[in-house]
Symmetry: C2
Subunit: 200 residues, 2 copies
């Protein structure tokens, strides 16, 4: 690290902490940032700080938002009878991209994973149960957790919790390849998955 000035070393070091950014890439990014116009570099730095400052979890659904409740929860044109349960805000974006689903969401911000010591209490699940108890307009809960071990376990767990309440519980269809990631699914596959959701 002694080959470059300290501020460059620090920038390379901070960039290399980002996921998928290795040593060479962080070096390339750092030198690119140094060659950028001052205002563009500042825009990047400010975007980071502003996003961290203004973004928080929606008190209703758990999605990331800068207003509370989030723009989806407060959208009166959406169908409040259906709540789609997903693991992350990225998954909300993925489902919004298919432009077909008009219900609401509930973001767990995680999945049950005993291997990692993540239990039902460690994800945004209790608020879903409370929400379903308080809001009797909800008629169906679509479980759109990822089609992997943790996601399936989470879906089964939530299904068992909700079933007794009489609310319909469905699981998105396995059109999505097992082991895949919702965030990276293409729109058509995702649309099929929502259409073919099955009763549990």
């Amino acid at each position: 690290m002694k080959y470059y000035a300290k501020p460059i070393g620090r920038l390379i070091n901070e960039l290399s902490k980002l996921p998928g950014i290795g040593g060479k890439t962080s070096q390339r990014l750092a030198f690119h940032i140094l060659s950028m116009e001052d205002e563009h570099a500042e825009a990047l730095a400010n975007a980071i700080i502003d996003a961290k400052k203004s973004i928080h979890f929606c008190s209703v659904c758990g999605n990331l938002t800068d207003v509370d409740p989030c723009s989806i929860c407060s959208d009166a044109s959406r169908n409040g009878k259906i709540v789609c349960v997903v693991e992350s805000p990225q998954d909300v974006m993925a489902i919004e991209r298919i432009k077909e689903y008009r219900g609401l969401y509930h973001v767990l911000n995680g999945a049950i994973s005993p291997m990692d010591g993540i239990g039902p209490a460690d994800i945004n699940l209790k608020s879903l149960i409370v929400r379903l108890q308080e809001d009797d307009t909800v008629e169906e809960v679509i479980l759109a957790t990822n089609p992997n071990i943790e996601g399936e376990a989470t879906a089964m767990y939530i299904a068992r919790l909700i079933k007794p309440t009489g609310i319909a519980v469905s699981r998105i269809a396995h059109g999505i390849p097992i082991g895949g990631d919702l965030e990276y699914a293409d729109e058509v596959t995702l649309l099929k998955a929502v259409e073919n959701r099955r009763q549990l």
Copy 2:
């Protein structure tokens, strides 16, 4: 872009301007930054701002530095008789990594490229000539520009400029990389390797 809150969209947009960072990657990075501890995100933002603020070109060699002259130029233990000419600060780092070269540098911050409209006046070349005129301790200039069309043209141009001054001018060797495979070497490299063969 309407699927996520504005500050997230802005962060994704700023990140996607970085080289090699596409849509999906910038999204992944943005959500990673949002999930980071506040102080880590701030450290990243501050590293960007500090680097942009404190880093400038060394008035002697043109390298990026936070002091002037840079730590290499002001290092009395280095051999001032040799100046190695490179295209970029990254090249300085690459040569420093071999831990063998103890001379000084001159960073052109570019290469002559008529195709891109970059002439000798657009790179940090004039200061090299002035430097060689004013500092009569320099005995050799090593041209370590990249082995491509622009780098070769730049090296030839500088060699022609310096030759009349009586200072020795050399070019780094081209050949088969150590650990490389003759079978997979391209024709031009192989030709250079044969042409530049040394007596054993």
